[in-house]
Symmetry: C3
């Protein structure tokens, strides 16, 4: 390890938390499902997106969650969620803002996850895995809490791909000898750019098709008849 005492600077960490919090509240405010979210529900989603990435990272690394060692993380996430709620009317016309914040905060959480994992001595592959989980984990929690299909699982997402390529770029650049900070900046940029391009050009992965076409009888509930 060339960074034995790797610490993500507090301002950078809080930036990710704040962007996640605003974005989460904006997303949840726009939600008009069968059951509306109340104020608290929107705030919870904001806090989950602000705090989720760091908590998942530290759980996977079995380290004490750094987001719970200071009052600032939760205060930042909460204030950001409130700001997101207040501004949701304005930003609804600026969809680009939501997408941009999302791409950036995903890049930040992914880069912090992978670089902390590398600094703790994890091999490259699991370090990238931790970064991807940190980047997409908040969104998975959000979708579970809101009761909507998990975004990264379905056609048209390209969510996890952006995080995976960005975190891999970080790991490769670091393995080639670059400083972890520079590697992290490259990783953040790669993730955010891929994500933005995917949205702008509406790129998605091909739907999964079995190698051999076949008919699958499906229950009306949408569960395959394959027994498990």
């Amino acid at each position: 390890m060339d960074e034995p005492l790797f610490v993500i600077p507090l301002w950078a960490d809080l930036t990710a938390v704040g962007l996640g919090g605003i974005q989460g509240a904006l997303f949840a405010s726009g939600f008009r499902g069968q059951r509306r979210l109340d104020f608290l529900g929107v705030a919870i989603i904001g806090v989950v997106l602000g705090m989720g990435g760091g908590l998942i990272r530290d759980l996977l690394l079995n380290t004490t969650p750094v987001t719970l060692q200071s009052n600032w993380y939760l205060l930042t996430a909460t204030v950001a969620a409130l700001v997101g709620m207040l501004l949701s009317g304005v930003f609804a016309r600026l969809n680009a803002v939501i997408v941009g914040l999302d791409a950036l905060s995903m890049g930040l959480f992914g880069a912090f996850g992978t670089s902390k994992a590398l600094a703790l001595g994890l091999p490259v592959v699991p370090a990238v895995f931790v970064g991807v989980c940190a980047a997409v984990g908040g969104g998975i929690l959000r979708d579970m809490l809101m009761g909507v299909p998990i975004a990264i699982m379905h056609v048209g997402s390209l969510y996890a791909v952006a995080a995976g390529v960005g975190c891999s770029a970080l790991a490769v650049v670091h393995a080639l000898g670059a400083n972890l900070v520079i590697a992290a900046i490259i990783g953040i940029a790669v993730t955010a750019v891929i994500r933005l391009l995917a949205v702008i050009f509406d790129i998605s992965l091909p739907e999964q098709r079995a190698l051999y076409r076949r008919k699958v009888a499906v229950e009306t509930t949408g569960i395959p008849i394959i027994k498990t």
Copy 2:
């Protein structure tokens, strides 16, 4: 820290586990959704509500789960779940019992979470957060496993608010110099009373409304068209 060796007494911990287990099984027994739960499903929900709060607390604190260090926790949760199943016919007419058990066990899990976090040296804000997660976490897991909308996310719950105010009261009283045990008792009482009053008077939070009214086109699936 004025309580360097803070330990929740086993009898108090097992009381919370037992109340949670009974309440979970009562709730799950009353469930008549598209797909019924079998015996095992009801028992699982009971165990999840009995064990969930403590497990979530210890995961967030990165301490060895105390609920897995002794046979008593799981035995208590399982027996409580069975008792809940057997008594579900009786208690169905006594809805107040379910609500009362729920309010009390939520107060216990919240107070144990916040006081353990404070004893471990966490700052006030994350200590309250850990308590709230411990108080409402079991219910979130229950709703996810049962496939119903997450209760704390929707209009009319006031669930997390009760836990948040109770855990905050605990932290404030403790910060003012009170013994952690006394602070915990006050926290439990505050949470339980708020929760009961909310049910009795049918209080709920105002639905989240955007600052500026606007029309949002929504897919039939209920997911906003905001791309993420």
Copy 3:
């Protein structure tokens, strides 16, 4: 503890990861719900089923996740998921293969979970609990991510029962003085055989019925009117 330095051999661990990965991808490939999974979604489910059991075990035991200490786990899970996707056309006609792989990988994850817990000094009951969580946890994550009802919660599963009896058999045989390796082999066999017999003979648990019959008014959404 008679096995102070208990370590699951890498080849055995990777076998469980690989079987889980193949089985997960086969299952997800057969899925034809409202929203199809894309390539990535199928791969994610494979990785979740390959990695989930070990991660859940190590989270509950508060030990550093062994699956993230080497590149091999994720590489094995990913390759296995790809193999599962490629072979899904062939195996669709061989439902028995999916069920068999599932029974075997469940047995492996359960046995590794319980034996690691025993080796770390946990009492018998929580050790069995950790094994059951490791055995069924991957499937729960799968169902949550795919947005289908959680399999172990519903009539006809007998899923958790197989894991519970197998892990209990392991613990009993070990308590009687047998070597942990032999106990683990017995536990794996018991879990797999019960699971296979349950599928072959279509055995299920009786539906949960309240001791006293009663009418429960149910909302159209399927949520009981019991307030929580």
